[in-house]
Symmetry: C2
Subunit: 382 residues, 2 copies
């Protein structure tokens, strides 16, 4: 099997670097993404508890859709007939889709991985479905993805080196098949390869080199944020980033906490996605400049003060903690809605702060100030 042509058009423009950190612009068919970028996760074509206009207002340029969920319901062919995810959902902006592989592994039953494909039963209706690298690319094209991801196999950590290497090699062979299947994709859309290799630096490096050899529009680091210590995750980024071409975007999948974002950007990562801001919002946790605040805590019950009176996001500077506490304790949907948008807005504000600092060459100061603010902690109870 001959290698596909490695020369792919580059839609990424690196605007500035500041020590390891980078800021740039990624141009997609549905708009420009400012990097470093945090992508809110709209699992099944919707953000949980947030209107699309709030995602936009919060400053997100791009969102992530989950291929696994969308192919099962409402179905990729249906979304294609309805004009793709951007039009179907009304979001309108850039969309990155994962390949479906990760969620096949975590959500479906009776999955079986062979050289040719992964076969599984839908967690919705038990239907047997085969997802090959070629079908993963086809589904993402039907969804209208601006950025598609290769199909890969993730191994849960901890795992033995043999298992990690086997999955990494299979992912590389699937990367090549995805790259080939992507050749007829619409102009301007992109395909990212995914670096695997678990917690073994040499395997990470080998995976990255092989992917660069195949050639992708951008490169993701996968199989992390699966329970390993942050230190391990950062080491894997450090093992990978130097191997990746500096003129292509780098995406750390499924990450993370504000701390993870700060540390990863410092190490040269450009893109992130995570359900954390909305999931924790539904569980009563607000992210602020002064760290995470658990609104379930009784100390907020009589507190008329907002979460952060100087926040750029209206809900964070207007609603009383007492009200948010009441909503969370009462299980009112509005509580989850407000905390989810407050968290998405904080994550976007953090990214915007990093972008501005990198552009101005002041990332180290921004990093130190952000850490100092987090360490200061939330305002004291009244």
């Amino acid at each position: 099997m001959s290698r596909p042509d490695a020369s792919l058009p580059n839609h990424f423009e690196l605007l500035a670097t500041d020590s390891g950190a980078r800021t740039g612009r990624l141009t997609t068919p549905h708009g420009v993404v400012r990097t470093p970028a945090f992508m809110p996760v709209g699992t099944a074509g919707a953000m949980k508890g947030i209107h699309w206009r709030e995602i936009r207002d919060a400053g997100a340029d791009i969102v992530l859709g989950n291929t696994y969920h969308l192919m099962l319901r409402p179905g990729a062919e249906r979304i294609a007939a309805l004009g793709g995810l951007q039009r179907f959902t009304g979001w309108g902006g850039p969309v990155l889709t994962d390949s479906g592989g990760f969620q096949v592994m975590s959500l479906s039953e009776l999955r079986k991985v062979t050289e040719s494909a992964v076969t599984f039963r839908s967690h919705i209706d038990g239907m047997k479905i085969e997802l090959s690298p070629e079908r993963a690319i086809e589904v993402q094209r039907l969804l209208g993805s601006d950025i598609a991801m290769q199909l890969d196999e993730c191994v849960r950590l901890p795992a033995g080196r043999d298992d990690i290497e086997r999955a990494m090699r299979l992912s590389l062979r699937w990367a090549e098949r995805c790259r080939r299947a992507f050749e007829s994709a619409p102009d301007g859309t992109m395909l990212f390869g995914i670096v695997q290799g678990g917690d073994v630096p040499e395997l990470r490096e080998a995976s990255a080199r092989a992917l660069v050899d195949i050639g992708f529009h951008g490169y993701a680091i996968g199989g992390l944020a699966v329970g390993e210590p942050q230190e391990v995750m950062l080491k894997m980024i450090e093992a990978t980033a130097p191997v990746l071409p500096s003129d292509r975007p780098r995406y750390l999948m499924g990450v993370g906490t504000p701390d993870d974002l700060l540390e990863s950007v410092k190490r040269g990562v450009d893109m992130f996605d995570c359900v954390l801001p909305t999931r924790n919002g539904r569980h009563g946790v607000a992210y602020t400049r002064y760290g995470a605040v658990n609104l379930r805590n009784a100390r907020h019950a009589d507190d008329p003060r907002p979460l952060d009176k100087e926040s750029g996001w209206p809900a964070a500077r207007t609603y009383a903690r007492a009200y948010l506490h009441h909503l969370v304790k009462s299980g009112e949907t509005l509580g989850a809605m407000l905390l989810s948008e407050i968290n998405i807005a904080y994550f976007q504000q953090l990214m915007a702060g990093m972008r501005a600092a990198i552009a101005q060459g002041t990332f180290e100061q921004f990093y130190a100030q952000t850490r100092a603010d987090w360490a200061r902690g939330d305002i004291a109870a009244r």
Copy 2:
């Protein structure tokens, strides 16, 4: 026991009548309410799945808060310390609170009604609580209600005439105690008496006459929309309305469907509240000019058309039926959020249409056109 002074200031201005229908302005400490008015229900200090700004944008002038829920959690004294419901919730506009009595009957356990009060156990923590007419007024004052309701006893229909009359007489004695307890209430706030009498016209009439004799800022018709046929409800309105002073607002509690609203306004009702638009929105039903649409129906699965391309509400004229169907089928919160706001907006649009028609003396035409549109039904499947 001597009767309290019946002369209460009147904050209602009747602007126009058109056969039986009326339009007016009710001035409260937190703003003006245009009538006929539909009050969305913010049970425990929040609308389910709707931001306050959307309630305002949809055209609602006033909302309803449930005293029973709020006195149990977060507590009336706490809300008072936080500036009242308007400030606590951020809504800022007029608020009507019920007395708590209806929900004591329907939600709490071990309730016991005596001459002096109703005693019950909280459905949240089992705590034993006594709600007397005087405490009901005190709690509503602590909540900061613009319009408070008397404590009353509702009887489930069908019921025997003796039971209905006993509860009606008790409610009248409680009305008098509430009226007395309200004498020190802040200027501009209002107290409404509640007509009871089940499905017995003579009892309804007797109840209304006795309440008018006591004297209230406005009069509610309670104990309806509890499962009886619409015909019975309308007969009770017809038995009651002529007895009520024409210069005071009339509020039909817990009503209703768009059809109920149209028929009741025609019979002289000025105010309504109901959970229907949000509850049915959570269950996948949208209200439109052409009737109710069940988005769960498979016929919407591939339909790119909006619910009503000429709706005045953005979500009703932009989101594809296919998308709303997908959200509802997938149990996505966004589906309930969008349908709830679409429904609240439709109810407000219906009220605005009635207000304008009454002001112009064209209520009969509006009534006929609205009925014709509903009868036309939803657009055909593609």
